[in-house]
């Protein structure tokens, strides 16, 4: 595997312009501002929920729950990266659903269905590169879905969405040592699962 091209455009939702002001307005009860925030970050939240739950409907439910929770608690938001705050709420909502449904997906989870494909990157100019990158993302998501649930949740929260050990531990209510072990084992297993697709990482 080689390092991905750093010049590739990001496909993650970036912070809104004047986000701090919008968040402050939403915290004061401005429903329009809150709507703007949720509309902006719904893809991020849904993506996290889908990768944790592996089910489109459950992921939509979790995202919806997260929005309601965020609406109820945005008055208590005390700064920091708003996206991280919202993703933590989404992770908690997703994990609640995961525990309630007692899902133990050990087989490959379904591919994203039509209509929930990756959000198009407006800056994409090279169809070949974009196609290769899309293939890499599909391979990564497919490999993630083959991980045991505990490892998948830990890796998704830590490596995909950038939470630290403590945040992951709080989200899944597990000791930090357990979280570290799950993350490390998940990384090693992913490497094995993707071993025959090394060329995807060289694009």
């Amino acid at each position: 595997m080689s390092d991905p091209d750093p010049s590739r455009p990001a496909t993650r939702t970036r912070p809104m312009a004047e986000e701090a002001a919008v968040v402050a307005a939403a915290a004061r009860g401005d429903r329009s501002a809150f709507t703007q925030l949720m509309e902006h970050y719904q893809g991020a939240c849904y993506g996290l929920a889908w990768r944790l739950l592996g089910d489109p409907d459950l992921a939509a439910d979790a995202t919806q729950d997260a929005f309601i929770h965020a609406y109820d608690h945005i008055g208590a938001y005390r700064g920091g990266v708003f996206r991280s705050w919202l993703l933590r709420i989404t992770a908690n909502a997703s994990y609640d659903i995961l525990r309630r449904s007692q899902r133990r997906p050990t087989t490959v989870l379904p591919e994203p269905e039509e209509g929930q494909a990756d959000i198009a990157d407006p800056r994409a100019v090279n169809p070949v590169a974009e196609s290769a990158r899309a293939e890499l993302y599909r391979a990564l998501d497919a490999a993630l879905r083959q991980l045991p649930e505990d490892q998948r949740v830990a890796v998704v929260l830590c490596d995909v969405y950038g939470m630290d050990y403590q945040e992951v531990a709080e989200s899944i209510q597990a000791p930090i040592g357990t979280v570290k072990s799950r993350i490390h084992r998940g990384r090693l297993r992913l490497r094995v699962l993707l071993a025959d697709q090394r060329e995807l990482f060289e694009g």
């Binding site: 949720m38 939509a60 490596d159």
Partner: protein, 241 residues
Amino acid sequence: MSMITRAHPDPQRLAALAGGDPDALSDRELIAHLADCAACDGQVRDLKVLRTALAELPDLAPSRPLQLLPPVAEPRPAAGWRITFRRAFAPLAVAGMVLLLVGSVGATGALGPADAGAFFQRLQLAAPAAPAAMEAATGQPEETATDAGMAPNELASPEGSRAQIGAMATDTPRAAEATAAPAESVPEVTGESDTSRDGGLAMVEDRAGWILAAVAGMGLLALALVLRRSGSPIDRRLSGR
């Protein structure tokens, strides 16, 4: 070709190092091993590339339209009632207390303790006579009016009543004479106490405004308490809970 003199580390240590774990980064033995072991070093590099790719996984469009805002709760009429009640309680209670205080002081306090005691004593003595005065005011028991030495038509109106009371206050001998004669109409009241009774009635009339204020104050206090207690049940009833 370098010689590897140490056993390979636990793969989880390599995964931790790839993730930037501070413990792994400070593990000199692990770092030294990687400098000598191309296999382990390659594994760490692969894991780093993997992490970089994972961190770039894109967001996904929701599978269905999401409701971005919780529905707005319909403003409950009960909320308005509750607020009204709560807001009305304090001023009503304060107004009631002020009226009660001012009325009480006006009726008794200004007289001083001794005079206040005398006032209440007179008021108590005058109490049995009050029904008779009321009857006289309404003009129903004709004999009472005649017993008081006045024509029935003279007492058949409020003016007549006030004239009677005024006469009692100013013309004490006449009133005493009038009330002493028909002993059967008010048998309990002696001729000696008639003067006190008449004086009490006069004082009641003189201080009617103060007494009315005190009574109004008590009424306002009672109303405030009723509003405060009834606010929540009404609210629950209106809201259907």
